[in-house]
């Protein structure tokens, strides 16, 4: 058995840019390769938007923070947002024409979508993913795997009995082990999304167990807890939490317009917090979702 020579690795591991400079600064470059990152958020917060944007950014050349590769998007929730992907892809193509000029293709050609409906199905496709990565074309080899979302895979089949929960936990480690093995073998970035459940104060106090930098996670004005519990939290390398709060922005009334109503525009503010990570200090960043994708708000 031979040890790995650490000096051969780049001093900063390769990172996948999020497409937004300020988010990248908060994450010190973006999502790391050879590592499993989890995005936890309430539904409607922007996890899928961020994942779609990552799948496109993976095609950027390495000098621009991309991975110069294609991405595999495994989705377990229906329906897959094809229209939104096309919309993002069009603006991506417009801003980066040089990548596609010589081959006359478009960014959507390099995002591979696969539907996963249960954990067993996921294990069934693993060997196919392995050979897919191995045989991927020279031009855009597979560099990113997105699983959206892991919680939906486990929602229906398991009851709340201790034996089922135990079975479920061992499946977490199996899934995580296989994905990390792939990530290590081919230097891929793996991004997994997870849902939240409402926090209910239980008698044993374990659902309120503090994990990571934030004492508790709040979204849409209420306290939430990431789904799948402590066992899954042990399986990922980093965890980011996206929350939303509805901020009301008021427009000021002009001097001689006392009678008219003041116009109020509601903008949903999103916030990314780093819950835990092996190399990032706890930090947070605010962003918005626009037609072109995700862009951060200046602090």
């Amino acid at each position: 058995m031979k040890p790995e020579n650490l000096l051969l690795r780049s001093p900063t591991s390769r990172k996948l840019t999020t497409g937004c400079e300020i988010l990248d600064e908060c994450l010190r470059g973006g999502f790391p390769c050879n590592s499993m990152t989890e995005i936890v958020a309430e539904s409607g917060c922007g996890k899928t938007q961020l994942c779609l944007q990552l799948s496109l950014c993976a095609q950027l050349p390495i000098s621009l923070g991309g991975l110069d590769g294609s991405s595999l998007y495994l989705h377990s929730e229906f329906p897959f947002p094809f229209r939104r992907l096309h919309q993002l892809s069009r603006s991506f193509h417009q801003s980066n024409p040089s990548i596609y000029a010589n081959h006359n293709d478009n960014p959507c050609d390099h995002v591979f979508v696969q539907n996963v409906h249960s954990v067993d199905h996921l294990f069934d496709i693993m060997p196919r993913i392995d050979s897919f990565v191995r045989n991927s074309k020279k031009r855009f080899p597979l560099k990113l795997i997105v699983l959206d979302s892991i919680a939906a895979l486990f929602r229906s089949e398991f009851d709340n009995t201790p034996s089922d929960l135990k079975k479920r936990s061992s499946l977490f480690f199996k899934v995580s082990g296989k994905l990390k093995q792939l990530a290590n073998k081919f230097d891929l970035a793996v991004v997994i999304t997870n849902q939240v459940t409402d926090f209910v104060e239980s008698s044993d106090g374990l659902s309120g167990l503090r994990i990571g930098n934030l004492r508790y996670l709040c979204s849409s004005g209420r306290r939430v807890v990431p789904a799948l519990g402590l066992a899954w939290a042990n399986c990922v390398n980093s965890r980011f939490f996206i929350s939303r709060s509805d901020k009301i922005v008021c427009k000021e009334k002009t001097e001689n317009d006392e009678s008219g109503p003041s116009s109020v525009s509601r903008r949903a503010q999103r916030r990314l917090d780093i819950v835990f990570s092996p190399y990032l200090p706890g930090a947070s960043c605010e962003f918005m979702i626009t037609r072109e994708g995700i862009c951060a708000v200046q602090a």
């Binding site: 650490l6 290590n184 402590l230």
Partner: protein
């Protein structure tokens, strides 16, 4: 066997006998410094005599009054040995204090906690600190880091290594100029080179690597710490036969203990936590079950208390139960700076 049979000069022989060392067993049962003092000879000569005595008594079965069984030591000698064992600092003096000075060599220490509490950070800090040269109070050794989860990030190790080099440079300013002249400056790159990194992706790889470690360390004698991050990840998957898992784990634990004792190095196992149903409620416990708790010498549990990270000595043959707080900074593990902290003795 009589001392006058030893192949030494007659003047030394005379001194030995007049000091009372008439049998070989009495010579082999003291330390060389005691022998030198009693017989009024130099330490090197005493050391030579002891070597000869040990050789001679090894060739016949020895029935001296002090060493009844070959290889047995008395507790006094063991105490001397233990006191002189070096310890690896964690860079956090509060944590070092409750650990009795640092992570002890020759012991298997298990450190467990929830995700995000700093287990990998402690692992990386130890693999850097073991390389601190002896002139600065460290061990000057190498580290083996076995990564089962993929949490080891080179940039973080580099950050911690740079902070360590900076601290050493600052300390050099206070050192005696005699030592300063012989200083070889350590660079962060050198520190990274001395971390022998293995990545294992399945439990079979993990078992194979642990079995191979004996041979590997015999060829790399300057390894002083072996860190496994984490020991449990590959074992929490579904094992068809739970008895097999227990057997495999206890074999692994035994190998670690042997490694620690044989090569006088520290073995640090990082563990995860899980919920255990005891006495009608769910409680947090370290993973891998009750039988695993016997496989380590010392056990440290990391937990959150409010906004502070705390470490608690859960099991140790010699240290009292105590807890201390620490923080994880960009420079690595450090003391927490809160004014209300205190070391709690249980």
């Amino acid at each position: 066997m009589e001392a006058w049979r030893l192949p030494v000069s007659s003047s030394i022989r005379g001194k030995l006998i007049s000091a009372g060392y008439t049998s070989l067993s009495s010579i082999s049962s003291v330390s060389s410094s005691d022998l030198a003092r009693d017989v009024n000879i130099t330490e090197e000569e005493a050391f030579e005599i002891m070597k000869l005595a040990n050789q001679a008594s090894g060739s016949n079965s020895c029935n001296g009054s002090r060493s009844l069984i070959n290889g047995a030591k008395n507790a006094w000698d063991m105490l001397h040995e233990e006191d002189s064992l070096p310890r690896i600092t964690t860079s956090c003096s509060d944590l070092d204090n409750i650990l009795g000075g640092g992570i002890s060599c020759r012991d298997v220490t298990e450190i467990g906690g929830v995700p995000g509490i700093g287990k990998t950070q402690i692992g990386i800090q130890l693999s850097v600190n073991v390389q601190i040269p002896r002139e600065f109070g460290g061990l000057g050794g190498k580290a083996i880091y076995i990564d089962t989860e993929g949490s080891f990030m080179v940039e973080r190790a580099l950050q911690i290594a740079e902070a360590c080099v900076e601290d050493m440079k600052e300390y050099t300013g206070y050192m005696h100029k005699h030592f300063k002249a012989n200083q070889v400056e350590m660079k962060p790159k050198d520190i990274l080179e001395n971390i022998i990194y293995f990545r294992v992706c399945s439990y079979t790889e993990q078992i194979a690597l642990v079995n191979h470690l004996d041979k590997f360390i015999s060829e790399n004698k300057d390894v002083k710490v072996v860190i496994i991050d984490s020991i449990t990840f590959h074992f929490r998957q579904d094992f068809d036969d739970l008895a097999q898992r227990t057997r495999v784990l206890s074999e692994m634990a035994l190998k670690f203990m042997k490694l620690a004792k044989k090569f006088s190095l520290a073995v640090v196992l990082l563990n995860q936590v899980t919920t255990k149903y005891t006495q009608g409620t769910f409680q947090l416990a370290l993973a891998l079950g009750d039988s695993w708790s016997h496989s380590c010498t010392n056990r440290v549990i990391l937990y959150w208390n409010g906004d502070e990270r705390y470490a608690y000595i859960d099991k140790s043959p010699s240290l009292p139960s105590a807890s201390a707080s620490y923080t994880v900074t960009s420079r690595g593990l450090r003391n927490s700076s809160s004014s209300s902290k205190r070391v709690k003795m249980m």
